[in-house]
Structure formats: C-alpha cells, structure tokens
C-alpha cells in the first residue's frame, strides 16, 4: 500500500487546485447579483460538515459532505414534479 507521502505526492497538487476552484466559485457567486439560493446554503453546510470532522467521527469526510447535500426525508413523494436533481436538497 502507498505511504502518506506517496498519497500526497499523487494527489496534493490536484486537491489544492480543486480547493482553490471551490474558493473562486464562492467568490464568483458573491460577486454576481441575484436572490439567495438554497444550493449556496447547502454548499456552506457541506463545508461545515467537512471542517467538523475529527478523529472521533464515525463517518468519513466524503460521507459527511455527501450527506450534507442529501435529502433526509423518509417517505416517498406523492408525485415527481421534475425529472432531474439539482445537487442539493431543497430545505
């Protein structure tokens, strides 16, 4: 199995690049006019879930982020009003 250093050598630059992209995306959203959007709120909730992770967490960071974007209701919908998904559950 690869060492921690091997993993960093393989993925650090790419992960750094993606993190800066996230930061730039949030700046871009702020810079433009429009109504508040549930997807942005969900994005910040996902970031909070990521940052809240600790050694004691039962779930991985990836799992916590995915769950932050997820619909946690339990009963089936009576009817589909759209066919697609937006990426974040509507509050």
């Amino acid at each position: 199995m690869p060492s921690k250093e091997d993993i960093l050598d393989l993925y650090f630059i790419d992960a750094r690049h993606r993190l800066i992209d996230v930061a730039a995306f949030l700046d871009r959203v702020d810079r433009h006019t429009g109504e508040p959007d549930y997807r942005v709120e969900a994005f910040y909730s996902a970031i909070e879930a990521l940052v809240a992770h600790s050694e004691k967490s039962e779930k991985s960071r990836a799992q916590a982020v995915l769950e932050a974007f997820s619909d946690h209701s339990e009963t089936p919908l009576a009817k589909a009003t759209i066919q697609s998904a937006s990426g974040a559950a509507k509050p």
């Binding site: 393989l10 779930k59 990836a62 997820s70 089936p76 759209i82 697609s84 990426g87 974040a88």
Partner: protein, 265 residues
C-alpha cells in the same frame, strides 16, 4: 489489460468509442435499458429500443470483437405514469429469451415517488418469476441516500437472494448500506458526478474488494467510455497488484454476471 464493462449505454455512443474500448482491452459490454434523454411517447418506442438492445447493438459490438449483453426494463424516469409503464412492461417477456439478455435492469428510483416504487416492485416480481438477476439504478445527487434506503427496504421484503442483485451508482454514503445487506455494489466513474477514479479506489480501500464492480455508465451525457481502464491505472498508481486489479475489472463482474443463464464468454 482485459476487462468487462458491466454498464454502458452504447446506443448513445459512436464506433470510435467501441474502437477505444476494444483497444483498451474490453471483452464484454453489458447494456442496461435506460432513459434515452427524452420521454418516449409510446410502448412501441420501447419495443424498437428492445430490438436495438437485443439485435442491432450486439452486431455492432461484434464488429469490434466485443461481446454485447443487455438488461431490459422501463427505467424509473419513465415510470411515473404507472399505466404507461405497465403497458411497456407487458412487452418485456417476449424479449427475455433473446440470447444476449442477462436480466432485469436498470430498474430502481429516480425522484423516489410512490409510482416509481410501485413499478420497481413489479419489476422485482417479473425478475423473480423468470429467475433473473437484477441491476438497480440508484437516484442522482441529493436523492441518492433516500432512494437507496427505500430500495434496500423493498428488497429486504422481496425474498430475492441478495447475491443476485447489484445496486449501482454507490458512493461513500451508500456503499455500506448496500454491501452490509449482502447485495453487490456498482461504482460509476463519471467526470462530473458520481465517483472519480481516486474516490472509487478509496471506496475499495474502505469497503473491501468483494461483491463490487466499477463501470463507466457511458451514455449521451458527459461520460467516458474508457473510464474503467483509466481507474485500473489509478489502482496501479496506488500499488495494487495486477491480480487485484483484474479481480475488480474482470473477475468480479464475471462472477456476478455468470448467475445469468445467457451469460457466456
């Protein structure tokens, strides 16, 4: 390296894609019935699609030395109208004896509605009646967690052997739900959603290498028909042995698919 592409929608792809897959070592492609990017307006449209999946596409794949299998169903996106879905389902049995048909799929849920669940359960009954394996689609993005939970609940009450069911498109938050109940899990490698290659290898590290496969699910959207061999290279970069890589991209799909009486290599 030889590999099996266990989930690809080749009706949406070009001959260049077939050629790239053949060059990358693809020996077998399995094609589930799916949403074509638009709603079909009649059951006859599905009849034509099933003919395409069972007659025309296998011949097209054979020109590249690739064996083609298919799964049949009406997909959950077009199952909201229960009456229409039942009309389509009534034509499926006449295709089940076609030599390339593996089983029922990709059934499942899309927006997690009561109608989708009803048609999902009726597909399960059809598979049970004909003793066929089942390939299940889980919903996209924010709907995946809820949909996977609903699907697993229905399956647990279906009295179908979980070893004959693969639940596809798992990610970090759903892989455990699927594998701990004894179902097979599929990981889909997409450029913009579902799993990236590094995350798929992470899932193997966290959930093990048994009863799991990876696929490209390449279709009419942004997708990569050679995502599986690319992920095999990712495994190589992570120091997996050739034998371990072959287990994931060839042996595991072979083991699951061999449960279908029409599957042969």
């Amino acid at each position: 390296m030889k590999y099996i592409e266990p989930h690809a929608h080749m009706v949406s792809r070009t001959t260049d894609d077939y050629q790239a897959m053949a060059l990358a070592g693809c020996e077998i492609i399995c094609e589930p019935a799916f949403w074509a990017g638009f709603d079909r307006t009649s059951a006859q449209g599905f009849y034509d699609y099933y003919c395409q999946l069972t007659d025309y596409e296998p011949a097209r794949a054979a020109k590249f030395g690739i064996k083609h299998h298919s799964w049949l169903c009406i997909n959950p996106k077009e199952a909201e109208d229960v009456g229409f879905a039942r009309e389509v389902m009534s034509i499926i049995p006449e295709f089940l004896d076609k030599p390339n048909v593996l089983g029922i799929g990709e059934i499942g849920l899309n927006k997690n509605t009561t109608s989708e669940l009803k048609i999902f359960e009726e597909h399960l009954a059809l598979a049970k009646e004909h003793d066929l394996p089942i390939l299940i689609h889980t919903p996209h993005l924010e709907d995946k967690l809820k949909g996977t939970r609903l699907i697993v609940d229905v399956l647990k009450n279906s009295q179908i052997d979980p070893a004959k069911i693969i639940i596809d498109h798992v990610e970090e938050h759903t892989a455990g739900l699927v594998l701990t109940e004894g179902f097979w899990a599929g990981m889909t490698l997409y450029p913009e959603s579902k799993c990236s290659a590094p995350r798929a290898v992470d899932i193997l590290e966290n959930f093990g290498m048994e009863n799991i496969w990876m696929n490209s699910a390449c279709d009419w959207g942004v997708s990569d028909p050679i995502a599986v061999p690319k992920c095999a290279i990712e495994m190589k970069k992570r120091k997996y042995s050739p034998k371990e890589i072959e287990k994931i991209i060839y042996d595991n799909p072979l083991r699951f698919l061999s449960q279908s009486k029409n599957f042969n290599i």
